[in-house]
């Protein structure tokens, strides 16, 4: 009678992980695009409106002393990766709280709840790249071979967001205030990162400002993206710091996440 039910499937843990991660990522994208008819359009509208505002303010109202020409391309190459960063990080504050019912009923590796956000926002970022291409053509920007560095930038940025997410997501379960703190930090970081200006613009200021800004991991990442159109912006010192800080944050994130996991499961 105790004839056991035969084991049915042959999943390796890695295949199972990838399968679950992909299911949840595509679910996120499906939900976003099924609830509004203009799905894709909405995801690029936000950066477009922001780029439009900054373009108007800095090229039409003020005489701009920052960035490079064509300024709209310069803006978009910083704004689009920024949207990925800010969207994913602010979503990770709700990674567990929003999905509590599902987490309480399915046993999948818990890091998936964070990584799915990094991935779905990353896919939206990739989908928004044609926007830059369109503006680059119309504004007459030249594409340089340094565009290959974008791949490196994507890798570093993925590591960075994953690390921050692994720290933020579990801690928010215990400290709900952290959600607000993160929002505030992101707003500050928008102006503290070279998005509407370039890292090289800071060299006119006292030197410590430039050094401080280089420690912002986003500085190096954005300089890699921008090298596609503005190779003079490529700053290997900042890139090296970005890579190192991102790696440290990911390591810290893994430790924090492991420590908190059991409390998170009880707390949600």
């Amino acid at each position: 009678m105790t004839a056991a039910v035969p084991a049915r499937r042959a999943w390796t843990p890695f295949a199972r992980y990838r399968h679950s991660l992909w299911l949840l990522t595509s679910r996120d994208l499906k939900v976003r695009y099924s609830t509004s008819a203009l799905g894709y359009f909405w995801s690029i509208l936000d950066p477009l409106v922001m780029a439009g505002i900054y373009w108007f303010v800095f090229t039409q109202v003020f005489d701009r002393g920052a960035g490079h020409d064509p300024y709209i391309v310069f803006l978009l190459t910083g704004l689009l990766p920024w949207m990925w960063f800010t969207g994913a990080v602010s979503d990770t504050t709700r990674a567990f709280l929003k999905e509590s019912k599902l987490i309480r009923s399915t046993k999948i590796p818990r890091t998936i709840w964070v990584f799915r956000l990094v991935l779905s926002k990353g896919i939206e970022f990739l989908a928004s790249i044609p926007v830059v291409a369109v503006f680059a053509i119309f504004a007459g920007a030249t594409l340089h071979w340094e565009v290959v560095y974008s791949v490196l930038a994507i890798v570093i940025q993925t590591v960075l967001i994953a690390g921050i997410g692994l720290i933020v997501a579990p801690l928010v379960v215990f400290f709900r205030d952290l959600e607000r703190a993160v929002k505030l930090a992101l707003r500050f970081l928008f102006y503290a990162s070279p998005i509407i200006y370039s890292l090289t613009d800071l060299t006119d200021l006292p030197e410590y400002v430039y050094v401080l800004a280089s420690f912002n991991p986003l500085s190096g990442i954005f300089s890699l993206y921008r090298a596609a159109f503005f190779p003079q912006d490529l700053d290997w010192f900042a890139v090296g710091l970005s890579a190192a800080i991102s790696a440290i944050l990911l390591a810290a994130g893994i430790i924090v996440f492991r420590r908190c996991e059991r409390y998170v499961l009880k707390g949600i």
Partner: protein
């Protein structure tokens, strides 16, 4: 139906499918109270801060493949917590839980369903998250829909279903996972009588097919119908691990229905 396994309750069984070894888990009495950073980063060796209680402690047992186990106890004595530990959706603070086979948890079954997606998308999502491949789901899809009696609503967003339909489709999916271990947590309290009976027949079929089951219920008749062995939990302790009739008699003696 299921014949009892030839091992005395409480004894370790050979080749167990589930082993629960001196397990303890603690919860905060007041869920709103905040932890401090210091708490999180100190080691988790036996420390019981005020405001916490042990929902379960020193619980040990093992389960042989094919056993059907009823978990008995009053509300708040750790029954659902035990089920969640076996489902590995929460982790014990002490001891270890080892589950050597796939688990189909009928716990908070509607939790995995997304309001904005259609029934069809939800079936693929939930079954997929529980480890089914796309082809396997496609093979069973029609049968799942038939069982849930929901054929007309395949492309309706989940949020537009009635609560009865939601439970039906959820049960139909989870019970078709064909995992060797089945966990049932009073989910069937919902739904109409006819459907409940259908669910019970499905559970009986699965037991006859050699599955291992954990069943939490307050209904004596259901417990006796499905289970061979009982676990009696009280105040976070495993008081009795014995054949189900013995366990129910002891429970009734301790808490006579007034």
């Amino acid at each position: 139906m299921t014949e009892s396994v030839g091992v005395a309750p409480g004894e370790p069984v050979p080749n167990p499918v589930i082993t629960v070894d001196d397990v303890g888990i603690r919860f905060r009495r007041n869920r709103r109270s905040r932890r401090s950073f210091k708490d999180l980063f100190s080691s988790r060796v036996r420390r019981s801060t005020p405001g916490e209680f042990w929902a379960l402690r020193n619980v040990s047992f093992s389960v042989a493949p094919g056993e059907a186990i009823g978990v008995v106890g009053r509300n708040g004595q750790g029954k659902s917590t035990l089920l969640k530990l076996v489902a590995e959706v929460i982790l014990p603070d002490e001891g270890a839980v080892r589950v050597g086979a796939g688990v189909a948890p009928l716990i908070e079954i509607t939790g995995g369903f997304v309001d904005d997606l259609t029934v069809r998308e939800n079936v693929y999502l939930t079954a997929g998250l529980h480890g089914m491949k796309r082809g396997e789901i496609a093979e069973r899809f029609d049968e799942i829909i038939d069982f849930a009696e929901i054929g007309d609503f395949l492309d309706t967003p989940y949020k537009h279903l009635s609560s009865g339909m939601r439970v039906r489709i959820a049960f139909a999916v989870i019970s078709r996972l064909e995992e060797p271990v089945l966990l049932v947590d009073e989910v069937l309290a919902v739904g109409d009588k006819g459907f409940r009976e259908k669910c019970y027949r499905r559970i009986e079929e699965m037991l006859a097919g050699g599955r291992t089951m954990f069943f939490v219920s307050h209904n004596e008749r259901d417990l006796r119908r499905f289970c061979t062995r009982g676990l009696y939990l009280d105040k976070g302790q495993l008081l009795l691990d014995a054949p189900i009739d013995e366990v129910i008699d002891r429970y009734n003696a301790d808490y006579p229905a007034s």
